[in-house]
Every structure is written in C-alpha cells, then in structure tokens.
C-alpha cells in the first residue's frame, strides 16, 4: 500500500540514515532560522553591497562560464559511470578466480578490461585534442 518493500531489519538499518538526514538538515537550517529570528535587520545602501569593504562589485553575478568546465564535467561524469559499472563487476572477480575456474576468471577479467579500454579511448581522445589543458 505504501509501495515499500523494505525488510524490517533493513528498515532499522536505514532509519539511521533518516535520523542522519534530519539532524543534518536541522544543523544546516537551524542557525539560519535562528539568525532570521534573532538578528537585527537594518538594511542600508552600503550594507547591501556585495563587499562592505573592498572593491565595488559591478554588473551581474550571472556571468557566462567557459566551455571547458563543461567538457571536464562531462569527462568526470563518464568516468563516474564507469566506476559505477566497474564496482559490482570487480566485486565478483576474485570469487570467479578463486571459487570457479581460472578460465572463467580470465573471461571476467577480459570483459572488464575491454570495458575499461573502450572508455579509455575517450580519455585518450580528450587528451590528444588538448581538452584537458587549461589555457
């Protein structure tokens, strides 16, 4: 009825996570709420400036960023995904070698290496096209 398929034990384990989230939110939001309630509020022209002392801020803070950030974030994401796929595969690799036969272990290893090698072409590509250099 709630769409929940959690085991009671799992539920207990995970309830720690829930407590952690709630406490974390309170920890982050609490001071803000307190400050809102307690702090005096007297705005003025100088007080509203970005830096009360220092350089005068000009223009908007919404500025256009460089494309390079995007490319690097993209490369990060691709390898993030690679890690996600590799993690479970790597977990069974040892078991394959030890508990099953050598050939099955080698097969699994070859599959994993192939996966990484194909993605490595992407890294080589980005590297050779000088996308990882910050100029």
């Amino acid at each position: 009825m709630w769409g929940c398929a959690l085991h009671p034990e799992q539920f207990y384990t995970l309830s720690f996570l829930g407590v952690f989230v709630v406490v974390g939110l309170l920890f982050a939001l609490g001071p803000l709420i307190l400050a809102y309630m307690l702090a005096p509020y007297r705005p003025g022209r100088t007080k509203n400036e970005t830096y009360e002392c220092g350089l005068e801020a000009r223009g908007d803070s919404w500025i256009q960023f460089r494309v390079q950030y995007y490319v690097i974030a993209l490369a990060f994401l691709i390898f993030d995904l690679e890690a996600v796929f590799l993690f479970p595969a790597a977990m069974v690799l040892r078991e394959r070698f030890v508990e099953q036969s050598l050939s099955l272990g080698l097969l699994a290893a070859v599959e994993i290496v192939l996966f990484v090698a194909i993605l490595a072409i992407g890294l080589v590509y980005a590297w050779a096209k000088k996308l990882l250099e910050w100029n």
Binding site: S101, S103, L104, L107, V110, I118, V124, Y125
Partner: protein, 492 residues
C-alpha cells in the same frame, strides 16, 4: 555457466557489427594521428563494405545468443546487409559533401560507422534491455551527426529538436517496457510471449504496447511522433538526412516487426490493435503527403515524403500474417533504400553547386546535366510507385497484402479494403509533389548564373549503384523477393 569458448563461438554471428564497432573505434583513434581527415574515408568504406560482405555470409542461428540478449537469425541478417549497404552509400555521399567541417571528419565517420553497428544490434535484439540500449545507441549517434554542421544554426536547431523529441519518446517507451516487464515478469521477448500466451487481454498490456509504439514510432517517423522530421532533415548534413531516412528508419521497422511478431500473437486482442496501427498508418501517409505538397525546400519535401513512405510500410503491419507482412515490408524497405538515397545524391550535387536546396535550384536541370535530371526523374517515379521501378514492387506488395488479407477473411477485413483505398488515394497526392520537382527540372529554364553541376567519382558511384538497383528491384524482382522471403522471421 557459459565459458569463454561458447561465447567465442557465438561471436561468429556478430562479425558484421563487430567489424563496424572495431572500425568505429579505430577511426576515432586514427583521427588523432592522421593529419588529413579525408584519408579516413577509405577506411570507413572498407569497414562498411566488409560488414556487408560478412553479413551476406550465410551465418545465422535461430538460437538465442549471449544469454538471450540477441538472436542473429536470417531476419537480423537481412537488416545487417541493409544497414551496411546504406552505410556504404552514405559514406560515399559524404566524401564530396562540401559543408562538412574538414576538422571533424574523423569523429563524423567514427560515429556514423558505430551508428550502423547500432542498427544491426537493434535488429537482432530479443531482450527489452538490449532493445533499449541499441535504440539509445542509435539515437545518440543520430543526434550528434545531425548537429555536425557546427557553424550552421539550422543544424544546431535540428540536433536540439531531434534530441528533445527523442528523449521524450524514449522516456515514454521505457515506461512501456517497465509496464510490460510488470505484466510478464521478464525482459526476454520469448518469455514475454510465453507469459502472454492464453492470457486475457488486460488494459496494462494495451497501455504498455501503446507506450512502446511511441519509441518505435519516433524512429520510423510515424504520426504523431513525426514532428522532428522536417527540421531535423532540413538542418542535418544531407548525407545524414539520407542516413536517417533509410538506416535509422529501417532499424525502427526491424525492431517493430520483431516485437510485433514475438509478443503480439500471444495476445487475444490483436485485431483491435492492428486497427489502431492501420489508422495511424493512414494518418501518417496523409499528413506526410499533404504537407509535402507545400514544401519548397528539397530536404523538407523529401522529409515529409519519408513520413508518407513510413505510412505505406506501416500499412503492411495491419495484416498480421507472417506470409504477407514481412516480405512486403522488407522488399519495400529495400526498394526505398535505393530510390531515396539516390534522390539525396542528386540533392547533394545541387547543394554543392548552388549552395542551397530549394526546388528552384533544380530549374532547367535537364539542360545543365541530363544525367542528374533523368536519374532524379527515375528516383521520383520510383518513390511515386510507378511501374516498372523498385518503389512500385514495394507498393504493390503492400497493396496486395491488404487485398489478400481482405480476401482471406482475416479479422478486420473490411477495414483493410479501406486502408487499401487510402493507400491508392495517397499515391495520387504524392505524385503531385514529385511531379512538381520533375516540372522544375524539365519545363523550367535555368537562371542565368546557375553553374553546371559537377559530379565527382564517389557521388557518381553512389548515383549509379542506386539507379541500377532501383531498376533491378523493379525489373527483376524475383531474386530479391526470394531472398527477402527466406530472411523473414520464422512464423510462430
């Protein structure tokens, strides 16, 4: 436990797509070392030709391969040959396509070759996950290829629209997969079929199928999932437009056929379902043909025409009978491959000469280049379904399928007669806009500054191949029909 040797044995059946996958990766790598991207063209041609040759080898297996992910049967082999052949012609067409940025030829060819492998994988997938993955593989490559003219705003717009539309349709399709999984408890198509056998029709399966149709319909440009076609076709580099109109569409039809033939026969409501598809098919061809009449841009016109052609092919699905449907659809696609690619070859030559792709640019083509004008004439006649050309054979078989379905008293027979009438009416509408082009080529005079089109070797080769095969399918259809009938999915 399946070991390395079994998997290695099964790899035999994956040679064409294996070759293309390797070639794609090699092209991407070579691009980093070679100075001139043009030197990669022979590699791409070799890869596609090699893949076509490998796909022609009679290596097929009706056993499920790779743990039921794929089934490299004769049906898949047909689409492998198809995809490699289309790829070869598209590579030829790209060689002399001027607007393509020379700096990115390596990426272009690499992704194109990989997209061909994606079509092959799509045609042989027998598992919902594998279908989704290869469909996304194909879509992703297509979005990128469409946007390859980086300095052309239209190309960027085309890519973005295609992507947004595709993402939407794929999401709906994925939801349909999830529902289908929920209803059957399996992702493997044969298992889904078994789960549905002797089971009552439920609203859930209906909804799942409808959602799935959104994803496949998007690939084949079926109304109402056709909205991306005009902009994507116009903005894309012309060889890629040609690729979308045949390769990507054939991939969509392949997976549609397989899912229809694997999953549907188990469901007891498929007559209604076929009526839905039939009505959609009629809408598809009518919308495509009517809007095409008012187009002035050649690529847009051919885009709408390709929507209409998808409608004709979809009509073949209405008769859910293995003896008729599959050969009709497959022979139609084969004829369509050559006539449509041929028409796009002419468009490329015109665009290279005048810098744009309007119907006006064809004015007086019969004086400036009789070869091009007459070839275009042939391709258009074939697209319109005039005997004795390839397109006629295709249309004839679709028509005959409908009439046979009516005569044999299949369920929904009366409806089929109406569909056949709609097909005839639409052919007349289509003839109108095809002959608008013919009129421009033969009865209008060239503007003064128009140069004589120059056709280089690769484009000429593509033109002749398309021309010869358009004639061949029309004049000697029997060998092609025999071949296609042998390649049909086994009846269930």
């Amino acid at each position: 436990m399946v070991g390395a040797s079994e998997l290695w044995q099964q790899m035999r059946y994956l040679m064409p797509e294996g070759l293309l996958l390797c070639a794609g990766l090699v092209i991407l790598l070579f691009d980093l070392v070679v100075k001139k991207g043009r030197s990669l063209y022979p590699l791409a041609m070799l890869a596609t030709a090699g893949a076509a040759a490998l796909a022609l080898l009679p290596l097929e297996s009706s056993e499920p391969l790779f743990f039921g992910m794929i089934q490299s049967d004769a049906f898949a082999r047909y689409f492998k040959v198809f995809s490699a052949l289309a790829g070869f012609l598209v590579v030829l067409m790209s060689m002399d396509y001027k607007p393509l940025p020379a700096r990115f030829v390596g990426e272009y060819l690499g992704i194109l070759v990989l997209a061909l492998a994606a079509i092959m994988l799509l045609a042989e997938s027998t598992n919902l996950l594998m279908i989704f993955l290869s469909l996304e593989f194909l879509s992703l490559s297509s979005y990128i290829l469409v946007g390859f003219l980086r300095n052309d705003k239209k190309s960027k717009e085309a890519s973005l629209k295609y992507f947004l539309f595709g993402a939407m349709c794929t999401a709906v399709m994925l939801y349909g997969f999830a529902l289908l999984y929920g209803a059957s408890g399996s992702l493997d198509l044969p298992a889904i079929k078994a789960a549905f056998a002797n089971r009552q029709n439920t609203p859930l399966t209906c909804l799942a199928m409808l959602f799935i149709l959104a994803g496949f319909g998007f690939k084949v440009a079926m109304v109402p999932f056709h909205a991306w076609v005009p902009d994507a076709y116009e903005g894309a580099p012309t060889p890629i437009t040609a690729f979308l109109s045949v390769g990507s569409k054939a991939g969509g039809f392949a997976v549609l056929l397989r899912v229809f033939f694997t999953v549907f026969p188990g469901l007891d409501y498929h007559p209604y379902w076929l009526a839905v598809v039939g009505v959609l098919a009629v809408f598809t061809m009518t919308v495509g043909n009517v809007i095409a009449c008012s187009q002035d841009n050649l690529k847009r016109l051919l885009g709408y025409s390709s929507i209409a052609q998808a409608g004709y092919v979809l009509l073949g699905f209405v008769v859910m009978d293995g003896r008729f449907t599959q050969p009709a659809v497959m022979i139609y696609l084969l004829a369509y491959l050559f006539m449509n690619l041929g028409a796009f070859v002419v468009v490329i030559v015109i665009a290279n000469t005048t810098g744009q792709e309007e119907i006006d640019d064809l004015a007086g083509l019969s004086e400036r280049s009789p070869l091009l004008a007459w070839s275009m004439f042939i391709f258009l006649l074939s697209l319109a379904g005039v005997p004795p050309l390839g397109g006629w054979i295709g249309k004839y078989y679709i028509f005959a399928t409908l009439v046979k379905g009516y005569l044999e008293g299949l369920s929904g027979g009366n409806l089929m007669l109406w569909f056949a009438v709609a097909l005839a009416v639409n052919s007349v509408i289509a003839a109108y806009y095809y002959f608008r082009i013919v009129k421009a080529m033969f009865f209008e005079h060239a503007r003064e500054r128009m140069a004589r089109p120059v056709v280089g070797g690769p484009l000429l080769t593509a033109l002749y191949v398309s021309l010869i095969l358009t004639f061949a399918v029309g004049l000697w259809p029997q060998p092609f029909l025999n071949w296609v009938s042998r390649m049909a999915l086994p009846l269930l």
